[in-house]
Symmetry: C2
DNA sequence: GCAAAAGTGTTCTCTCTACACCCATGG
DNA sequence: CCATGGGTGTAGAGAGAACACTTTTGC
């Protein structure tokens, strides 16, 4: 048995809930957005001082989804625009005591990320340049990034990283940041226009050069196809 | 607090592992395969007498994957050709006591299903004609079916429902059973031939009409893209 | 020979891609 | 006027759907 200073019964499996949170931040150098995520510095024994995913223990009286929202808010103060279960991690040696972690992943808009950026013990990192992480959290983050890249290809979750109104160039930059690859502006425009998920507004983003039309997402279209789980188990209290 | 006759501490969350198992069985009437699954009749209090997914409690010293394999074997005697985590279900009211279920889904080949078909308290059901299920298992099955239909489109998991060698017609019937839709034999042949996942043999399936060439899967090609989870967390211990 | 499944060829449409080109604005 | 990003046009490659057609077997 492992020596620990505090915590409940060591002979039971405990259930934790953690969340991988993604947002975007513009690099001051090249002005292009990068995928960033908040991490929490551990203040207790296992892996003290290392960075870890925000999370906490599952309460007896809350569902997994509720626990994810709650611990996410408690540790980072963030309100996500998208939240979905990622995977359950339960290797025996992933923690000194036996812990099964139900991991979620979330998107937050840049304005929301900025609003809550001043939390204690929380710092934002570029996903391309992460520090050493506690537990198996590095592996978890890699899986979440893979899921983000897959899902952005067949759903409209990119929406969760943008404000209500945005230009096509801004939307394209989201995809470019996630794919780490430049996209043809002309072809991108047509693809997204033909998808039926965008509604053009009469407003324009002025600045340099020709003003760009602002678009917003069509709320009739589902954010992401989750199959039969759309709003049954997932949103149950 | 809920009245129960046996089991550990009621004030803790327990972790269960269940598996949705799919196989194929030919309908004697039209000779076309249908997607079937084994269910276990409950012999204890919550939902006694109803059918439920095979499963059991997570042991302290085994990983989630190991627990899924173990409980699947203990309850049904089956050895799956494919096993993957599906989702973690944790609504507060899904069971009289607090249970978080890590649900897996699996494929077994028809010959394996027939070999183990004589288990006690286990029966096979057509997924299109399921009985009333215990707990939230009906919801779980629906999600697993959705995942099966999605995944068969972008991976070669159909392999897990066939013997080592098979004709293109047999492979096509697998897809037709999962999609509940007829496919054009000519176009299906080309798609699967151009995918590079099949290796033609020199053997033929003789019977009625013109003999059909037997194929086998190219083991070089991954069964399903699982991203960074390919063989790290999943196969640990 | 005939029915039926195995297997091949052809055409049409649709999407993706590359890239040329015009438009509108700030400087 | 010119540089730059916004926005349109267009031609070619490739995938998929529909379907005509040939081949090979059992009966």
């Amino acid at each position: 048995m492992v020596t620990r200073t505090a915590g409940p019964d060591v002979d039971t499996t405990r259930v934790a809930v953690s969340t991988v949170i993604f947002s975007l931040r513009r690099d001051p150098a090249d002005d292009r957005p990068a995928v960033v995520m908040p991490l929490v510095r551990r203040t207790r024994d296992p892996y003290e001082g290392l960075w870890a995913l925000p999370g906490g223990w599952l309460d007896l009286s809350e569902s997994l989804d509720t626990a994810a929202s709650r611990t996410l808010g408690e540790t980072t103060g963030l309100a996500p625009s998208f939240l979905e279960q990622l995977y359950a991690f339960g290797a025996v040696d992933r923690s000194p005591s036996r812990v099964v972690s139900i991991v979620y992943w979330a998107l937050v808009r840049p304005d929301e990320a900025e609003r809550a950026a001043a939390e204690e013990n929380v710092a934002w990192f570029d996903t391309a340049d992460l520090p050493c992480l506690a537990f198996d959290h590095r592996e978890i983050v890699d899986y979440a990034l893979w899921r983000l890249r897959s899902k952005v290809g067949y759903s409209r979750i990119a929406h969760g990283l943008l404000a209500d109104e945005f230009t096509l160039a801004e939307l394209r930059e989201v995809y470019e940041a996630i794919y780490s690859r430049r996209l043809d502006p002309a072809n991108f425009r047509r693809q997204v226009e033909n998808s039926g998920t965008l509604i053009p507004t009469e407003r324009f983003r002025t600045g340099s050069h020709r003003p760009a039309r602002l678009y917003r997402y069509n709320r009739e279209v589902e954010l992401a196809d989750r199959g039969p789980l759309t709003h049954s188990e997932s949103s149950r209290s």
